[in-house]
Amino acid sequence: MPPEVRRGIVIFSCLVTLVAVIWAARMDYVPPAHFSLQNGTDPKTLDPHRATGQPESKIIFELFEGLLRMLPEGSPDPKTGLQPLTPQPGMATSYEVSEDGKTYTFHLRDGLVWTDGTPLTAHDFAWSWQRMLHPATACEYGYLISEVVLADEYHHSIVKVGDRVEVELWDRPGESSGSDANIQHFPRGTMKYGTLRAIIKPDQIVLPDSASDDARESAELDWQESWVYQIDVAPSDGSGNVDWDGPTTPEEFSVSAQVARDDSIQRTHGVMVDFQHFGGAQAVDDQTFVVRLNNAVPYFLNLVAYYPLFPVNRNCIETHGAPLWTKAENIVTNGPYMLQFRRLRDRIRVAKNPDYHNVDSVGMETIDFISLESQNTALNMYETGQIQWAYDLPTSVLEELKDRPDFHSAPKLSIYFYKLNHDVPPLDDIRVRQALSMAINRRQIVEEVSKGGQQPAYSVVPPGIAGYDNADGLHEDVARAKELLAEAGYPGGRGFPKISLLYNTSETHRPIAEVIQQQLQNNLNIKIELKNMEWGSFTETVQMEKYEMARYGWVGDYPDPNTFLDMWVTDNPQSNTNWSNLEYDGLIKAASTELDSTKRMQLLRQAETILANELPVIPIYFYTSAEMAKTNIEGFAPSAQDLHPLQILRYRSETPKE
């Protein structure tokens, strides 16, 4: 290569570098929002029916609004600093509850509009609730409204002969009868309605004993797909009006493509109960929405104010499909704020929605939800004024922050505990479980390890639920623990098998596990092996029940003891402890149908007492929140459910325009 060319190339690469630097230096600067907050890991989705976590819920509560909305009522509790929140009118101005507590009638405000300008009616709620319950939406919160008439049957696609059913034919856009499914389940294929006459089930294939659980599950589901449904189809027009008394025609349907190859059998996406016409969520007219329940649910209004029950815009979803409808340029919402833009792992910017019915009460013009995974970074950014609210702070500095005026700490509705697997002896022995629990010094854990002001827990329901008197559990008593252990056949810890304590990899779980290991060794002479797994493996191991003791946490879905108690009934999929107590199951069931609130709370308390005595789980502590919010913000207060309505926040100097 001649020297000139070589020199040319050197100059060329310098130029390329220069261009690269100029390209890199051209930044896309966005001025900061009026109010910025730490929002944990990047939100998974903005679809209210698909979201599950805290970061998502904070955003969705501002973008959307349900019939009711949780807002402060009264002043904060002077002792705990907790601001009581109650369900208050949102899209609905008022509601009536029938005497038996089973029918709720909501009256919507006049002139409600979506952000695209179209009117918002009770039909939007009916459709949204149906979408939420539809199995293909795979909403994880479907169980919350399982008491709504037909909701559970619809959510789990359970049909019985004689039910009035809906059938969705295999003709969604782009589908032919032999093709793969179009995964967009809205807009729906052609709908037929009728009465289920019979289900023809082929013989089930018998799997060898060696087959895995997964294989069994999948074979069962495959078998269900091959069922043929015989239905007397009622005449209906295209828009969903059905003449149930009209002349019916018998037709046959099946989900399986093989079965439906036969011309007389039509292929369907599924035969489900007709929730749209007979379910417990009906729009009577544009402004009246009626909910019917199988049994009274005392906390139902709290559920209505929870984001999975917020309305979504049908036209938007049917035009763009999921998940594209959630993009900033497509999304249509109805809450106090509307989405401006979303930058992955950076921020979500929302701005005041001018069409919101109560727009005058909305304080901040724009809000940034900053994706921040590191606690230290969040604190740094708070201290330098880049964010005004940080809710997840590094434990190591809590001691120093505690006395500052902008520090807020209050009990939360959530608990930290260890699950015990009852399939593993000796954990099936109640004396052993009690001994383990009584030998753990929780005060040492909260004061020397977690240090965030957590409350030691001896039972599972956190304090602070109105009208509920917590059950008393077994407190520390090393002497008694030793006796119990001896009675169980392990005097002085001799012969006690080595059990392992499993936790997911985290800076907070490891030191707690180590302290417990130490305490059990010193107090009972029991050796515990610590095992940590990262989150994915951890949850799978616990769900497959291949553990002995496992760390867990639970955050209340609604402010009622039931959310902490009903998961321990026999065979609940969340339990994974193999613990079963018929008396306990009976009490939880009785409480779920009890209308009298005092009696109901007593039943729940009895159940909790059983739990605190039998100890299928060892409670460790109740969480407290530890957050910092700038002192010039008005309207900020901790709440038990850790909900923070952002639309009521404003800076002190800015007084509302009246």
């Binding site: 050197v10 690469s13 994706s371 740094n380 880049q386 949850t539």
Partner: protein, 309 residues
């Protein structure tokens, strides 16, 4: 020119092979670790899990999945929808994250080269002086201190004590300065040592002595006859340096809350986001491969003795 084209073609063929191998290994590894993208604290009912799996084609037999996804990547460059960041396709995630990572890498590298080469030249020219000792001690420190420690120190110094830079975030040049500095400094330290060694070796060469004997001024000799030759080891280090800057940003992105690709890489793996993890692995493979090829080319250009093969 002909051997250049042949060389590029050969490298391209190797890249395709490497990508295929990486794809296969990642595919098998991702699916053999316990857990799946839908496992969470709350267990999902089987029928609903099946719906979710159908949405991401995870209900097909593994071989079918392997083939379908491969076809999608090869024919449409479509890496699929992310299973955890549900609202995004993997292509969108990369499209948003890549410019951030690239910007950071460019600043870090340019900074590292400028600082490293300057320090190396000064050390070599003023060998055994105080400047040389100080610079080389600093270089040893720079290599030894991991970048997250450096980041903490830098934040303490430049965010809290002297308040000139913001603590984190992305959007202004000030916000890039600290992370680029922390990312580039260890590389700069390495380059400083390499260029010093290169310079010292060149200074003893015959042609340099001849240049001095001709009566050329010291400045001209150093810039014309010593520096170009001394840059060879530096250029050959650029390949690993690019790799280091790209992978090193994983930690810094978290510390400075930057929306780059690194954090996606970690989260995708821990959350079993099969599609996103695959997309990240393939993207990094392509990036590193292309960068290494470029470095090899540059090397051949600077040093006429190197033959491309």
């Amino acid at each position: 020119m002909r051997d250049l084209l042949g060389y590029l073609l050969k490298r391209a063929a190797w890249m395709v092979l490497t990508l295929w191998a990486v794809y296969t290994v990642s595919f098998v590894l991702m699916r053999s670790v316990p857990g799946n993208p839908f496992s969470g604290e709350r267990s999902v009912p089987p029928a609903i899990e099946r719906q979710l799996k159908a949405r991401y084609n995870l209900d097909a037999p593994p071989l079918q999945q392997y083939w379908d996804y491969l076809v999608g990547v090869v024919t449409r460059l479509d890496l699929g929808w992310s299973t955890r960041l549900e609202d995004y396709s993997v292509n969108q995630v990369i499209a948003e994250g890549f410019p951030v990572s690239a910007t950071l890498a460019i600043f870090a590298l340019v900074f590292a080269i400028l600082l490293g080469v300057t320090a190396g030249i000064i050390s070599a020219v003023y060998r055994r002086s105080t400047a040389d000792h100080v610079l080389m001690f600093a270089a040893v420190l720079g290599i030894a201190i991991p970048n997250f420690v450096l980041a903490s120190l830098a934040i303490l110094l430049f965010v809290f004590m002297i308040q000139i830079f913001p603590a984190g975030g992305w959007g202004t040049l000030q916000q890039i300065a600290l992370p680029a500095f922390c990312l580039g400094l260890p590389v700069a330290a390495y380059i400083a040592r390499l260029s010093r060694t290169g310079m010292l070796e060149m200074l003893t060469k015959d042609h340099v002595r001849t240049a001095y004997a001709k009566g050329l001024p010291k400045r001209t000799v150093i810039l014309r006859h010593v520096v170009p030759g001394a840059m060879l080891p530096v250029v050959s280090y650029l390949g690993p340096a690019v790799a280091r800057v790209l992978t090193g940003s994983l930690v810094l992105e978290k510390i400075f809350a930057l929306p780059g690709m690194g954090s996606h890489f970690i989260n995708a793996a821990t959350q079993r986001d099969y599609t996103l993890a695959m997309g990240m692995v393939l993207t990094y493979t392509v990036l590193l491969f292309v960068m290494n090829t470029l470095v090899d080319l540059t090397y051949a250009i600077i040093d006429p003795r190197v033959k491309l093969r």
